[in-house]
Subunit: 392 residues, 2 copies
């Protein structure tokens, strides 16, 4: 098995356990910080480890352009390139490519697009997206899907879903033929050979491959989502994602679609909700049965001075904090709240100091990690989240 979910406790449809990957175990439900270009902006890998981050997300589109898959492959894959020995998931690049509204052209074959950096032409197909993601070597890679825009009429949502299902089949075919090309398998095999340990009886990373997850689309139509789930499950993947949400639709609708789609996903396999969300949302969805989530919110908001605390959101740029000696979040035990005052953090932000972005990001990530630790504890204890949800 490449990646599997080991469920240890359940409460209703929620569950907690471990995702076993070639690069370590990940406690679930898990929030995955986004490290777009092989770095969580401003935070060094040892600090991520200290924060308890067990899995990171990398963006295929961005890494494809810089430093390019050949460089990462030659360096032994993304783990080795960025010196991160814990788990990584890469998205398929689809979401970013579809965001290039004026720079891309979709056909059944794939998507022609121009780089947002220099306008250079590129093409991503299901096969190419697999080739790139195998070269990057994340533990979990994602099928190349079309992220249906919101709003989309019934015909458009169906056509888009059908395209994603066809592409999912092509992704699986390519992946099954090429999955042994993952760079860390080759690297480790070579290392083991040179060390004379090729016959060691214990399974090694070299025996393992990546896991390819399917993605459910279908816009905001519950029936289309059900059909997308059924047809993706028929193709067969070791995990399933719910994609195409948080793209502008009302939050109630997001919630309705997530909950209805969850009912159609296998209960013994990982369930990943893409691109969500606020602390309240990740706590809510984890308690609804989602195992994995990712979002740029904690890191991007931090860089804009928006901080999540046990007392609600706080905009550190405000002049009211200029002489506030209290900790950012008096209830927080992160290294930022333990050492610095709001006055200092406000000064760093106002003076455009690099350290503002570094410290704000560390705090927000800690808040997200702590939120998920709390939710896992609740699920394990069978308790209701009476007092948790932070004030908005």
């Amino acid at each position: 098995m490449s990646v599997r979910l080991q469920i240890e406790a359940t409460r209703g449809s929620a569950r907690t356990g471990k995702l076993i990957t070639p690069h370590g175990e990940v406690e679930t439900p898990v929030f995955m910080p986004v490290g777009t270009l092989g770095s969580v902006k401003g935070v060094s890998q040892d600090v991520l480890e200290e924060l308890g981050v067990e899995i990171l997300l990398g963006n295929t589109y961005h890494l494809f352009l810089r430093p390019g898959v050949e460089t990462v492959r030659k360096m032994g894959g993304l783990h080795r390139f960025m010196s991160w020995d814990r788990a990584i998931l890469t998205d398929s690049g689809g979401f970013q490519v579809f965001s290039l509204t004026d720079l891309r052209k979709v056909s059944d074959e794939g998507v022609a697009f121009r780089s947002h950096l220099d306008g250079s032409p590129h093409f991503l197909s299901p096969e190419k997206a697999m080739e790139v993601q195998i070269g990057l070597g994340a533990d979990i890679i994602m099928a190349f899907d079309e992220c249906t825009e919101y709003p989309a009429d019934a015909a458009r949502a169906r056509a888009s879903m059908e395209l994603t299902v066809r592409w999912a089949g092509r992704c699986k075919n390519y992946f099954e033929e090429h999955k042994h090309e993952v760079p860390w398998a080759r690297t480790e095999s070579a290392e083991l050979r040179s060390a004379g340990r090729t016959n060691a009886s214990a399974p090694t990373r070299a025996d393992q491959t990546q896991a390819l997850f399917g993605i459910v689309q279908g816009g905001t139509d519950r029936e289309l989502r059900r059909e997308s789930a059924d047809r993706t499950i028929d193709i067969g993947f070791p995990g399933y994602a719910i994609g195409g949400l948080s793209v502008g639709e009302p939050r109630d609708l997001t919630r309705d679609i997530v909950l209805s789609t969850l009912e159609h996903l296998p209960s013994d396999q990982p369930r990943y909700l893409m691109g969500v969300g606020t602390p309240e949302e990740i706590a809510h969805y984890a308690q609804s049965g989602i195992d994995m989530m990712d979002c740029v919110l904690p890191t991007r908001a931090a860089r804009h001075g928006l901080l999540f605390t046990s007392e609600g959101k706080l905009s550190i740029k405000q002049a009211r904090y200029a002489q506030d000696e209290s900790a950012l979040d008096p209830a927080c035990d992160c290294r930022v709240c333990q050492r610095y005052s709001r006055a200092y953090l406000r000064h760093l932000y106002a003076a455009n100091e690099l350290l503002a972005q570094v410290l704000n990001t560390v705090h927000n990530l800690h808040y997200y990690m702590a939120t998920m630790r709390t939710v896992r504890t609740w699920i394990r204890a069978g308790r209701a989240p009476a007092t948790f949800v932070p004030r908005k």
Copy 2:
């Protein structure tokens, strides 16, 4: 005594020992990283501690504008504001103010200038510079001097030196009258009172004051430098700086003036060379009898991808490093060289990732700290620096 130098070993005119300050001991000769606005750009205080930084430099001009001396004073001084319990030195603001060529007007009274941020009018005099530096509360503060430009003719260099000497006397007068207003003395007294420990017999920080150092000017004229040294020593300070160098003059001339000026400074007091320099220069001047130095070079160069290594300078932006798996400096034991490859650092820099600036700065600071540790060891051991000076 506020600050004193405890010399432990000498070799020629070089010496190694400890600078005893109200905020801890500083091994000398020491290189002081620059934390312009109360932060060494991109590096958190715990990492500075780990790097072995025992004293930081803050820029009075910048802190005067942001967050302003009143804020820092109310927060208990710069140490408490930035959560840094080790020693701090502030410059007088003179160097920055004189750099505002088109925005300032000098008179015997002081300097009228406009903020580089918003054009707002301000005035710094010797008295005001003391008031501000007492409010900031660094352990060592500097007399308000005129940094003579290069080149300057004989009349101009003399007039400028005379102005600096007059201002030095006014600085000392103001400082002696107001030195007990330093915010940490007040804060600690209050804390001790509330803890009922006012009669404790051990001396506390509240019994101590800042130390005001004088600055020798005189341009590039050895005789004028001697006169400046003599007259500044006549006023009487617990330490002396050599200012007005590294302002565009040839490096040989810098060296000549530093060495000749050193002969006129008291051998039992700290000697501080301002604004110097490269790794080669700090090693050289430490071995010539300088005890303290500061420079933006390691931190600013890092942010521009210029890294100091045991094999010489390295520009990490170069494409030749794109697939270079070796450490930045194979001989370096810093946390950056121990974990990341040149290929990764080059990618971070090329992609304009925040982490590039963070990691590059940590490495360069480590290199400077390690350089000074090596020099101190040589002086203590009485050995010559046969193999040290890095290739350029």
